[in-house]
């Protein structure tokens, strides 16, 4: 945290993430489809990756030596698109085609349609395996690039994730980084104790706020048990994100893949979406969109900048 009055060292990233959150809300409201909670929890991570971490060329998306990024939690596609558009992969206006017929911006990422995607995802648990293959291939080819894969904590319920975790460790893929957007909520999940634990805004569900964690044990210990290096950070603190990614990138850091467990808040950035499971895939009403615009500091035109 910066002291009051002092300019944030990451003001540019904060601004991008603020606009990104608005683009998510505006696009999902206009398309009547998509997700809110996951894209918002991942927004700071995605923004940091695309604007400060990944070695990429938006005007040459197939550049062979680029770092690779796979959004394994593919249902957060609109969050990724909001960042890629700002980064120059395609015009921001194109977001209006999200989830429309013949769009390059599919509800779940489709690498055959949109240049710049390194995998087609949307069926949870699969992205890390592709990342393992890319990291292995990069090493066989002698290419000094990094592969980043973003998973959700809910996604880690898929058994396949752990097949990939084990093989990445076996092949000592130090050029592979898994980032877990650990927002602690999923589409429906389990009830927390009803009554006292239930949060305002979640009352539509008579059985608590669905905030009970899945029985994952100690995720850090599980990754470490498989032989990974684990960095735990606040996934909304740009300083921490950049520090962890730089640390993960260090070649001399050993022969282990790195997992960044990023603690995040689902629906982060708006008072009425934060921590509410119902916002997993809810469509904002016109009133909610207006409230979002004001909270995010976007002027009445609805156009960023």
């Amino acid at each position: 945290m910066t002291k009051a009055g002092a300019p944030s060292p990451h003001a540019d990233l904060e601004e991008r993430a603020r606009v990104g959150r608005w683009l998510v809300m505006r696009t999902v409201a206009a398309s009547g489809a998509g997700h809110i909670g996951g894209p918002m929890s991942a927004m700071d991570l995605l923004t940091a990756l695309y604007f400060a971490v990944l070695n990429i060329r938006p005007d040459e998306p197939d550049w062979p030596d680029r770092d690779r990024f796979i959004l394994s939690k593919g249902h957060s596609a609109i969050g990724l698109y909001a960042v890629m558009a700002q980064r120059g992969y395609f015009p921001i206006d194109e977001l209006a085609t999200f989830d429309k017929g013949d769009s390059r911006l599919q509800g779940h990422p489709d690498m055959t349609r949109l240049p710049g995607l390194d995998a087609s995802t949307g069926s949870l648990g699969q992205g890390l395996a592709v990342g393992v293959g890319i990291a292995l291939g990069a090493r066989l080819r002698g290419r000094d690039l990094r592969t980043f894969v973003m998973l959700g904590d809910g996604e880690c319920q898929e058994g396949m994730v752990w097949e990939s975790v084990a093989i990445a460790a076996r092949y000592r893929l130090a050029n592979l980084v898994a980032i877990v957007d650990d927002n602690g909520l999923q589409q429906y999940g389990w009830p927390a104790a009803d009554g006292p634990g239930a949060r305002d805004g979640a009352r539509d569900d008579s059985r608590g706020d669905r905030s009970e964690p899945w029985p994952r044990g100690n995720l850090r210990a599980v990754f470490e048990g498989f032989g990974w290096r684990v960095l735990e950070i606040d996934g909304h603190d740009f300083g921490a994100i950049l520090g962890a990614c730089a640390h993960a990138r260090e070649a001399g850091a050993g022969k282990r893949p790195t997992a960044i467990l990023a603690h995040t808040v689902k629906g982060r950035g708006l008072s009425f979406t934060e921590g509410i499971h119902a916002w997993h895939a809810r469509i904002p009403t016109p009133d909610e969109l207006a409230a979002a615009r004001v909270e995010l500091g976007i002027d009445a035109s609805g156009e960023p900048q």
């Binding site: 489709d110 690498m111 055959t112 390194d118 995998a119 087609s120 995802t121 949307g122 069926s123 648990g125 699969q126 992205g127 890390l128 395996a129 592709v130 990342g131 393992v132 293959g133 890319i134 990291a135 292995l136 291939g137 990069a138 066989l140 080819r141 290419r143 058994g159 396949m160 097949e163 990939s164 084990a166 093989i167 076996r170 092949y171």
Partner: protein, 315 residues
């Protein structure tokens, strides 16, 4: 007589000597699929993925995106069933250059039974957009298909069988995608088959000839794509068409022929294969007899059908 699994492994081993992009990923069945032959010769290009087929498919997709030509080594059933969603989303949909070496396909899997027999693979893989589906009939065709699949861009499913197969061709064989092979002419019936089952159909045609019945044999090694007009041309001369496959009668070669004929040449088609049932662990001869796939049972069936006798269901 050589087995397709040996031929496949030998061919890849030979190819890899000059093609540096060829990799083999094994789901810990290398001593069965014969990928161990490749591993001994090219240890740096053999990647043991352990007993985890879903991850193996994804890793292959990633390697393909880095320009490699990864071949998967496992049993067909673990690739088409257990890793189906990964094959669908990570290989077929993006058109990843992954080659599926599907060992132990069909019914004859060495006394392993229902878990290991894949008698739905053709139906499953054929329905997948972007997937090329091949079922070699013998070692020569298997070698040619292995070479072809390595060179062509995009996903290929290669249906490999376990046991030695009698030759249909010789070393002059050249594979052409989609082509069908009339191996014997006949007036009364046409046996249409794929994979090593074709050699049992030729045997059946010999037996039928002794009984005065002239049966042709059409070999269909390209399940997808297939030259439909060539199938129709071959079928024109026979009143009775019989599909014979080491596969369910639902959705495989019989299904494919039904689709073609319904559109282009409405004609009676009898489908021989597994009658929507599960396999079991038993000797090859027993399984072929039980499911109507032995030369003797095919012969019997054709004679019954030609007499207009009601179709006898398998016990």
């Amino acid at each position: 007589m050589r087995s397709q699994r040996e031929t496949w492994a030998d061919t890849l081993t030979e190819l890899a000597a000059t093609n540096e992009e060829v990799l083999v990923l094994d789901g810990d069945l290398g001593t069965s699929t014969k990928a161990d032959v490749f591993a001994r010769r090219h240890p740096d290009r053999f990647l043991q993925m352990g007993i985890a087929e879903q991850n193996m498919v994804g890793v292959a997709a990633g390697l393909a995106s880095m320009g490699y030509v990864p071949w998967l080594s496992s049993f067909a059933v673990f690739l088409t069933h257990r890793a189906l969603d990964q094959v669908r989303l990570l290989v077929a949909q993006p058109g990843a250059n992954v080659k599926i070496g599907a060992g132990y396909a069909g019914l004859l899997t060495g006394l392993t039974g229902k878990t290991h027999q894949d008698v739905q693979d053709l139906a499953i893989m054929r329905a997948m957009p972007g997937m090329t589906v091949l079922a070699p009939g013998d070692e020569f065709e298997c070698a040619a298909m292995t070479r072809w699949a390595t060179d062509v861009a995009g996903p290929v499913y290669l249906r490999l069988t376990r046991d030695p197969t009698p030759p249909l061709f010789d070393d002059t064989y050249r594979f052409e995608l989609g082509r069908v092979y009339p191996l014997r002419e006949g007036r009364d019936a046409l046996l249409i088959s794929t994979g090593p089952q074709t050699s049992r159909c030729i045997e059946a045609a010999d037996l039928l000839e002794v009984s005065g019945i002239s049966a042709g044999v059409l070999h269909v090694p390209s399940i997808k794509p297939v030259d439909a007009s060539a199938v129709v041309a071959a079928a024109l001369g026979s009143e009775l068409l019989v599909s014979v496959e080491e596969h369910s009668v639902l959705g495989g070669l019989g299904g494919l022929l039904g689709e073609i004929l319904t559109t282009h040449l409405p004609r009676r088609l009898v489908r021989i294969g597994l009658e929507d049932c599960w396999g079991e662990s038993a000797p090859n001869d027993f399984l072929l007899e039980k499911h109507g796939l032995s030369a003797a049972r095919i012969t019997e069936r054709v004679m019954l059908e030609l007499q207009g006798t009601p179709t006898r269901r398998n016990a």
